[in-house]
C-alpha cells in the first residue's frame, strides 16, 4: 500500500436531475468512503430517493459525474459531449451496488432462495450449487433459513424485506443502498429489518441509507446528511446533527419528525 488515501467507494460530483421542468437534484456532491454508513434524511420530495436511483442509473441524471469504486460509471464526458456506456457496462456497475427498495420488489414467481440465487447464477454465472450454498448462508444471516422454499407472498413484509436484503447481498456488492427500506412496513415489523441493517453496518458494509428512522441514523450512521429541495443542506456527525444542527431548515425538520 502506498500512503495514498484509497478512493471513496461512491463519488458524486455536481449531479443535476430534472423531471421535466422540475429541478429535483440541484448539484449534489457526495463521497462515501469504504465502510462508511451514510444516512440521508430530509422531508419527502427533497430528492433523497432520486439521488439513490441516479447512483444506480435507474434514473438518468442530466449533469454530473458518478464514480463507483473509482471507476466512472454509466457515461463518459469527452469535450463536453456525453457518451453513454453500453447496456452491458451499465449492468456491470449496477451489479456492484446492492439496492433495497421501499416495496421490497421480490420476484413473486420465484421462491425466496430462488430470488437470492437468481442474479448470482444468471448475471455472475456462478454454479448453482455454489449460489445455493452462499444463498442459504445469507438467508441464515437475515434469519430466514426456514423460509427458503416459500414464495414471497407467504412472508410478512418484514420477512420479505430481509429476503430482499439477502438477495442484494448475494451479489457481493461493494456498497448497499437502502431506499426507505422500512417505510412500507407495519410498525411492529420495522425493528427486525433495522436489526439486519445494523448487523450489516457492524460487519463493515459501505451503506447509503435513505431513512425516516431517526434513531437508526443517530445510532448507526457514521455521517448524517440532511437534504432539502434537491440540495445537501447540512452534513456531519450524527451526534452533532441531532444535538446541535447549524441550519434553520435542519432544525425545523428535526423538530417536526422528533416531536411525533
Amino acid at each position: 500500500m502506498t500512503g495514498q488515501q484509497p478512493r471513496p467507494m461512491i463519488e458524486i460530483e455536481g449531479l443535476h436531475k430534472y423531471f421535466g421542468p422540475l429541478h429535483v437534484l440541484r448539484g449534489i456532491d457526495l463521497s462515501v468512503a469504504a465502510g462508511e454508513v451514510v444516512c440521508i434524511i430530509g422531508p419527502s420530495g427533497s430528492g433523497k430517493s432520486t439521488l439513490l436511483r441516479c447512483i444506480n442509473h435507474l434514473e438518468i441524471a442530466q449533469q454530473g459525474r458518478i464514480r463507483i469504486a473509482g471507476e466512472i460509471a454509466y457515461r463518459d464526458e469527452v469535450g463536453g459531449v456525453f457518451r453513454a456506456h453500453s447496456n452491458r457496462a451499465v449492468a456491470a456497475v449496477r451489479a456492484q451496488v446492492g439496492m433495497v427498495f421501499q416495496h421490497f420488489n421480490l420476484f413473486p414467481h420465484l421462491t425466496i432462495i430462488g430470488n437470492v440465487m437468481e442474479a448470482p447464477v444468471h448475471v455472475l454465472r456462478r454454479p448453482k450449487a455454489e449460489a445455493m450454498r452462499r444463498g442459504m448462508e445469507l438467508l441464515t444471516q437475515v434469519g430466514l433459513a426456514d423460509k427458503a422454499d416459500n414464495y414471497p407472498e407467504e412472508l410478512s413484509g418484514g420477512q420479505q424485506q430481509r429476503a430482499a436484503i439477502a438477495r442484494a447481498l448475494a451479489m457481493d456488492p461493494k456498497a448497499m443502498m437502502f431506499d426507505e427500506a422500512t417505510s412500507a412496513l407495519d410498525p411492529e415489523l420495522i425493528a427486525e429489518v433495522l436489526a439486519v441493517m445494523r448487523d450489516l453496518a457492524d460487519r463493515g458494509m459501505t451503506m447509503l441509507v435513505v431513512t425516516h428512522e431517526m434513531n437508526f441514523a443517530r445510532q448507526v450512521a457514521s455521517r448524517v446528511i440532511f437534504m432539502d429541495h434537491g440540495s445537501i443542506v447540512e452534513q456531519g456527525d450524527p451526534a452533532a446533527i441531532f444535538a446541535d444542527p447549524r441550519e434553520a431548515r435542519t432544525r425545523d425538520f428535526l423538530r417536526t419528525v422528533l416531536e411525533r
Partner: protein, 225 residues
C-alpha cells in the same frame, strides 16, 4: 316423412370424419405453436425503442384485426399465386391463421408484459440484469402466467376457426362432411356428427381453461406448506 338422424350413415362415414378431425387438430396445434412464438416477436417489436418499427407493427396488427379471417385465408391461397407465390393449401391455411392469431395474441402478450410493475424492472436492473435477461427471467414468466387463461380462450377460438380452411380446400372435418353430403344429401346426420366432434374437443378444453383461471388467480404458493 324425412328421416332425421341416420345412424348407419354416421357410422359408415366415421372414418373419414375422424381423419378430418385429426387434420383440424393438427392445424390447431401447428398454428398454436407458430403463433405463440411469432406473437412474442411482434409484441417485443411493438415495444421497441425504434418508432418506425413500432409503426410497422401497429399497422400490421390493425390490418389483421380490421379484415375478416376468411378473406385473409382466401387471399393467401387464391391471390398470392397471381404474384407467382403458389402455396400448398395446408401451408397457406397455417400461414393465414398464424398471421391473424399472431396479431391478436401479440396484443395479449403486450398487456401481460405491461402488467408487470416498474418495481420488478427496477429490482432486476439493480441486480445487474440486462433488459433482455430481465425480460426472459423475470417479466415473461410472470406475464405468461397472467395471460395463460386468455391464451387458452384464443386457442379454443382457433380450433373452431380452422373450419374456415374448408374455403381453401383443406380437408379438415367440416370440408370432409361437405364432400360426403354433396353425394348422399345426409346433411342433418353429417353436420350433427361434425358439431358433436367440435364440441367434444372444445368443451373439455374450456373446462381446462377454467381450471387454469382458478390456479393463476390463486397466486404463488408452496406445494408443501
Amino acid at each position: 316423412m324425412i328421416e332425421l338422424f341416420n345412424a348407419d350413415v354416421a357410422v359408415e362415414n366415421l372414418g373419414p370424419l375422424l381423419a378430418g378431425l385429426l387434420l383440424t387438430v393438427e392445424l390447431t396445434l401447428v398454428v398454436m405453436v407458430l403463433s405463440l412464438g411469432f406473437a412474442l416477436l411482434v409484441a417485443l417489436a411493438g415495444m421497441s425503442r425504434f418508432a418506425s418499427l413500432r409503426w410497422v407493427i401497429k399497422a400490421y396488427v390493425e390490418v389483421m384485426r380490421g379484415t375478416p379471417l376468411l378473406l385473409q385465408l382466401v387471399y393467401m391461397y387464391y391471390v398470392l399465386p397471381e404474384f407467382g407465390i403458389r402455396l400448398p393449401a395446408f401451408v397457406a391455411g397455417c400461414l393465414a391463421l398464424t398471421l391473424n392469431y399472431g396479431a391478436y395474441i401479440s396484443e395479449v402478450y403486450r398487456g401481460g408484459i405491461q402488467a408487470i410493475g416498474a418495481g420488478q424492472h427496477d429490482a432486476a436492473a439493480a441486480l445487474g440484469m440486462t433488459r433482455g435477461l430481465a425480460m426472459r427471467r423475470i417479466v415473461l414468466p410472470q406475464a405468461i402466467r397472467i395471460i395463460l387463461p386468455t391464451l387458452g380462450n384464443y386457442f379454443i377460438g382457433l380450433f373452431k376457426d380452422t373450419a374456415l380452411c374448408s374455403a381453401v380446400s383443406i380437408q379438415e372435418v367440416l370440408f370432409t362432411a361437405q364432400i360426403i353430403a354433396a353425394n348422399n344429401y345426409q346433411y342433418f346426420t353429417l353436420y350433427t356428427v361434425v358439431g358433436a366432434m367440435y364440441f367434444a374437443v372444445s368443451f373439455p378444453a374450456a373446462r381446462l381453461v377454467g381450471y387454469l383461471e382458478r390456479v393463476t388467480r390463486g397466486g404463488y404458493r408452496s406445494r408443501h406448506p
